[in-house]
């Protein structure tokens, strides 16, 4: 069977989130995973995708569809799904992935399940799946009945595993395809499909963004007020990172929303997240659970964040952070 997967590019290669989606696509069974990439052919990372067991790449080049237009992208997927007889269409659960698949569902009348972590074909037109609710703090077991299953893949809970590793696993995964075929695809688009398209420009402030920072120093209610962030800024600077905040901080107006880490803010995926004076409300955890390592600094040894953190210092951040800064400067 054939499964179609939208692959986004990031820094020249396939986006990590898209590779996770491809991994899940491969897990659906004896499938031929075909991907769709919107880029110049020369930029298509075919080898990388081959390493993940992809059999085909359909490329839509800029001269036919330049830049991002969600409905147009969805139309492309619709055409290819139909052409290839795909039984499922997937994308990463990124903003674009969710958006494009939602358009696909709307234009075809098919249901779409967002942020899935596990999908299992169950015969005929049925797929059993597990998906996120509350940004992953609750799981939904669901059943999808549809001629073509549409779903996006949660960006942080499905591992991205190369096909080679998969095939060596226990039980061994499907064998690596022998080759990958790249097709330059010419889509048929409706007029309305290009009605909404993105005009891109570099984002405002340069420098490290919260979403991509390697180190994030977080401040919550424990900081106490807008004037309490100086030590955190200093620490972030020393560690080459940025400051993030919890929702309490932004709704009090202490810091702008673009610094907010959380379900309705930014989901961060740093090497290290230092959560200071943050209790760990679930919608905040939703935003930082992708961090590789979490260290909590809190006066409360029972704060929920400690069940998600690797290390903790029990104490007042107003004492600990300056002391830490001093120690780092002394090195």
């Amino acid at each position: 069977m054939t499964v179609l997967c939208l692959v986004e590019l990031d820094g020249g290669g396939p986006a990590d989130a898209s590779l996770r989606a491809v991994t899940l696509a491969r897990s659906l069974g004896d499938t031929s995973v075909r991907t769709v990439v919107f880029a110049d052919s020369a930029q298509v990372p075919a080898d990388a995708l081959a390493g993940y067991g992809v059999t085909d790449v359909y490329v839509v080049e800029p001269d036919l569809l330049d830049g991002y237009a969600p409905q147009a992208w969805a139309r492309v997927l619709a055409g290819l799904a139909s052409e290839t007889g795909a039984t499922a269409v997937l994308a990463a659960g990124t903003e674009r992935g969710n958006e494009v698949l939602a358009h696909l569902g709307a234009m075809t009348g098919l249901p779409m399940a967002a942020n899935c972590t596990l999908v299992t074909p169950d015969g005929g037109q049925t797929h059993r799946l597990v998906r996120h609710r509350w940004a992953g703090l609750l799981l939904e077991d669901a059943v999808m009945e549809a001629p073509v299953a549409l779903f996006t893949v949660a960006t942080d809970s499905v591992a991205n595993v190369s096909a080679a590793l998969l095939s060596e696993g226990t039980p061994p995964g499907p064998p690596l395809p022998s080759s990958i075929e790249v097709h330059v695809h010419k889509p048929e688009l409706a007029e309305d499909d290009l009605r909404v398209r993105a005009v891109e420009s570099p984002a405002g402030a340069g420098g490290v963004s919260l979403a991509t920072a390697r180190v994030v120093v977080g401040g919550g209610r424990g900081v106490g007020g807008p004037d309490g962030f100086a030590p955190l800024e200093e620490l972030a600077g020393l560690l080459g990172g940025v400051v993030g905040v919890s929702r309490v901080v932004t709704s009090e107006g202490w810091r702008p929303h673009k610094q907010q880490v959380g379900q309705t803010g930014t989901k961060i995926t740093p090497e290290l997240y230092l959560a200071c004076g943050i209790s760990g409300a679930i919608q905040h955890i939703a935003g930082c659970s992708g961090a590789k390592h979490i260290i909590a600094i809190n006066t409360d040894p029972g704060a929920p964040i400690l069940t998600h953190a690797d290390y903790a210092v029990i104490g007042d951040l107003h004492q600990v952070i300056p002391a830490l800064v001093q120690a780092l400067r002394a090195r």
Binding site: A281, N298, T299, D300, P301, G302, A303, P304, I314, G315, D316
Partner: protein, 837 residues
């Protein structure tokens, strides 16, 4: 912040709110070491009621104890540097409230609280954003202030830690309390076991749950109290600090408004009572803010929004000021509104310090620390005794029923005689049905239904017309009837039956029984079998602890008879001082007591018994079994109303028969039923009999109360040393009975005081004795036989001269009074001829 859990402790204090923090501080100051403070939440704010409290303190209270606890707490807050004075105003929207404010300000004067009634314009000057057209006036209390209770608690806790006396375990949950052989043995927490002899429950709304772990009941329930915070308030943007305007209590709407920085905090006690069972309080994890800051139920607050807007239209009506904080806050309520302080009856070493407001918190901490250290408390907290409630009063049904009934009365006008309605009747005497048929108006004491007067006696009003001292003014006529005075006169003319089933009857027996009662009592108890002794019980300071009678029924058996209201506390006091070979039995539910008094009482009794009840045959102050109409009755010849007569004790199931027998015999002799209005007030005031809790309190000595006997017994008793010292010195104050010379006020209607009013010099100044105790009316009531309204009060020794003229202030007006007695010599029948006839 959090230390390692030790294996043993001198005391484990559960709950780090304002009370727990104050308690550990005071224990450390009193020399305790190896203390452990446990809380499942974090420091400094573990998430209890202290964390979101509105933190303001009005010094004026309905109860003297609460006033004193508040005064002590305020002093402690000031010492900690967390008190900011703002002033406070209770505004009146109704004429009834204006009357109450006048009464309240006079009461404030009695206790030395600055207070004055002010006009709407004057209110507006102090609080410019308050619409003066909405109010009729206000009561201004300039010493009102706000505190930072979290900071205060933190400072107190840290002081104890720094002195090395205290280990703090935050984020640690108490899972069990071990009790065996009637003693506390230890505590189990999420971090292991701690062996200890003392556990103190200071966890506010969670307290009943924790108490259950020790097999105890705590009469407290969490209830919701809504509050919102509105801001930014334009006017407050430039004011310095936390508060620059007086706090407003909009008492007629059950609301308050206080500035808090740039916001106006608006709180309400007006919504429907919402009880939250302790087991339904969310955990810290489940809570968005904290376990005691529950989600706001908007519908319940909407009527209050309108009222607040009406009072402060521009300030709160500003569209740019938003409701930026709104909670259903949780607070603790008890059936009588007083805290729970002291050792619990269920186990030795199990203590409670719960149901306190911020304004009494530090004072409650001190009081319990003193109790735990075996000291007499600085503030008399017997009204908050954790052991005061009877089992039925500790039931969830009763506690919640009273809390619901009391909630909307938080700022209510509370009459001193006001009666609760919920959960009644619970304890009824064997003659309850007879009393109902006689139209008894029942008041409740300790759950007992007691007739205060009988509607059936209405026909007496005509007989005694002109001597009834009727009360035309609404306030003092409330919860009162001139029938009481008619019953009194009829009793003194003939005789009366009084149902005294509410007495607590406690029997001490065993080889050590005599030692037990000797140790407890001032009076000599090694008397002949069949003697009845009226005695006081003292505390170690020589202050009054109880006032009751003891009958020696056998060489090793003594029956203590005390008031129902203090029965539970008195029983615990006895148990705590019993030698190993003495035993206590509570026989309250086994015996009923019916009083028969008046000049014809002997005639009535003689008609129903063949036993010798003549004066020679049955001396005053003795008791013996007699036969009355087929029942064996223990008759005790004493009198709290100053008349010839007996208390008749019968097994409870025979009480109705006893009543009926006496009733039938008494009809031709003019026997009437008389209620507690006579027994508790008119009768005793005329005789100058002091009552425990009113005249007899730990704050005054036996000498000052005028109750010394010529000799002090040789045997040791509690308080003896102090008592001997007190006898060696002249009293600083003297208990006096005063008569009101004129009741004419400005309104032209005669006014009658009810108690609590300040006694002033003729120049209108407060009288305060050398120990700083102010003079105020401890008891007030009609003296129909002497034709005067009577007041009892402690006066500074220099003022305690018979014939001395003074003033009493009531409802803002002053009335002339005269010192009629400066000793215990009665006004009526001073030689006690009637009693001894």
């Amino acid at each position: 912040m959090t230390d390692t859990q030790p294996r043993t402790a001198s005391a484990v204090i559960i709950g780090a709110g304002i009370v727990g923090n104050s308690l550990v501080h005071h224990l450390a100051l009193l020399g305790w070491r190896d203390l452990v403070l446990v809380d499942k939440g974090p420091m400094p704010n573990p998430g209890g009621s202290t964390g979101h409290a509105s933190n303001f303190i009005f010094p004026i209270e309905y109860s003297k104890m609460m006033f004193e606890l508040t005064t002590d707490s305020t002093a402690q807050y000031k010492e900690l540097g967390v008190f900011t004075q703002s002033g406070g105003i209770e505004v009146a929207r109704t004429p009834e409230r204006m009357i109450e404010l006048r009464r309240r300000c006079s009461q404030a004067k009695a206790w030395g609280i600055p207070a004055e009634v002010i006009t709407p314009a004057e209110v507006n000057k102090l609080v410019p954003y308050l619409d003066e057209t909405v109010i009729l006036g206000g009561g201004y209390f300039p010493t009102v202030g706000v505190v930072d209770s979290l900071r205060a608690g933190t400072l107190m806790r840290e002081a104890a830690q720094q002195s090395g006396a205290l280990t703090v375990l935050a984020g640690t949950e108490v899972l069990g309390i071990t009790v065996s052989d009637g003693r506390v043995r230890g505590v189990t927490t999420s971090a292991g076991e701690i062996e200890t002899d003392n556990v103190v429950i200071c966890c506010g709304v969670w307290s009943p749950r924790i108490a259950r772990m020790a097999g105890a009941r705590l009469a407290l329930t969490p209830v919701v109290h809504q509050m919102i915070s509105v801001g930014p308030i334009a006017l407050f943007a430039d004011t310095p600090g936390e508060i620059s305007y007086p706090i407003v209590r909009d008492v007629d709407t059950n609301m308050y408004e206080r500035q808090h920085g740039g916001d106006m905090e608006v709180g309400s006690y007006a919504h429907r009572p919402i009880v939250v069972p302790p087991d339904e309080i969310p955990s810290i994890e489940e809570s968005v803010l904290s376990p005691t800051e529950l989600p706001f139920t908007q519908d319940d607050f909407d009527p209050q929004l309108a009222e607040a807007l009406e009072l402060m239209p521009e300030l709160l009506g500003d569209e740019r000021a938003g409701i930026r904080y709104a909670i259903n806050g949780l607070i603790s309520m008890t059936p009588d509104g007083h805290p729970l302080l002291g050792e619990m009856p269920e186990a030795k070493g199990l203590w409670a310090a719960a149901a306190s407001w911020i304004k009494e918190g530090p004072g409650c901490g001190r009081a319990v620390a003193e109790l735990m250290s075996g000291l007499v408390t600085t503030v008399d907290v017997h009204e908050a005794d954790a052991a005061r409630f009877y089992p039925h009063q500790q039931t969830v049904a009763h506690v919640r029923g009273r809390a619901r009934e009391g909630f909307n009365k938080m700022y209510g006008i509370v009459h001193p005689n006001e009666q609760w309605e919920s959960g009644r009747p619970v304890r009824v005497s064997p003659v309850y049905d007879r009393e109902r048929e006689l139209g008894a108006v029942f008041y409740e004491t300790a759950g007992w239904e007691r007739p205060f007067w009988y509607a059936a006696n209405e026909h007496l009003l005509a007989r005694y017309a002109g001597r009834l001292m009727d009360r035309p003014a609404e306030w003092e006529s409330r919860w009162w009837s001139p029938i009481i005075n008619a019953e009194h006169l009829a009793m003194r003319d003939a005789c009366a039956l009084v149902d005294l089933s509410a007495f607590a009857v406690l029997e001490i027996s065993g080889p050590g029984a005599l030692t037990a009662v000797q140790t407890l009592s001032v009076a000599q108890l090694n008397v002949a079998v069949g003697r009845v002794v009226y005695t006081s019980w003292l505390d170690d300071n020589g202050g009054f602890r109880a006032d009751l009678t003891v009958m020696r029924l056998a060489p090793d058996r003594f029956r203590v008879v005390t008031g129902g209201a203090t029965g539970r506390s008195d029983a615990k006091w006895i148990r705590d001082h019993l030698p190993p070979d003495a035993f206590l039995a509570d026989l309250t539910s086994a015996w009923t007591t019916i009083g028969l008094w008046g000049p014809r009482a002997r005639d009535v009794l003689a008609a129903v018994t063949e036993d010798d009840v003549s004066h020679q045959g049955f001396a005053f102050g003795t008791c013996r079994e007699i036969e009355i109409g087929g029942a064996v009755v223990l008759a005790s010849r004493i009198s709290y109303v100053g008349e010839l007569g007996w208390e008749l004790h019968a097994p409870i199931e025979q009480g109705a028969r006893l009543w009926d027998t006496l009733w039938a015999a008494g009809q031709p002799l003019g026997l009437i039923p008389a209620g507690i209005g006579v027994y508790g007030t008119t009768g005793r005031l005329e005789k100058g009999y002091r009552a425990f809790g009113a005249e007899l309190t730990p704050d005054y000595t036996v000498v000052e109360a005028g109750m010394t006997r010529p000799k002090v017994k040789e045997q040791p008793f509690i308080g003896k040393e102090a008592y001997l010292r007190q006898r060696a010195e002249p009293p600083v104050a003297v208990m006096c009975t005063l008569t009101v010379d004129s009741h004419e006020g400005a309104s032209g209607m005669p006014r009658y005081m009810l108690g609590g009013e300040p006694i002033l010099s003729l120049a209108g100044e407060r009288l305060v004795d050398a120990k700083g105790r102010p003079s105020y009316v401890t008891s007030a009531g009609s003296g129909p036989s002497v034709g005067k309204h009577l007041l009892m009060a402690y006066l500074p020794a220099a003022e305690a001269v018979e014939g001395h003229a003074l003033l009493v202030e009531y409802m803002g007006e002053q009335y002339p009074v005269t010192v009629a007695r400066a000793s215990a010599t009665p006004l009526f029948d001073p030689a006690n001829d009637r009693i001894r006839s």
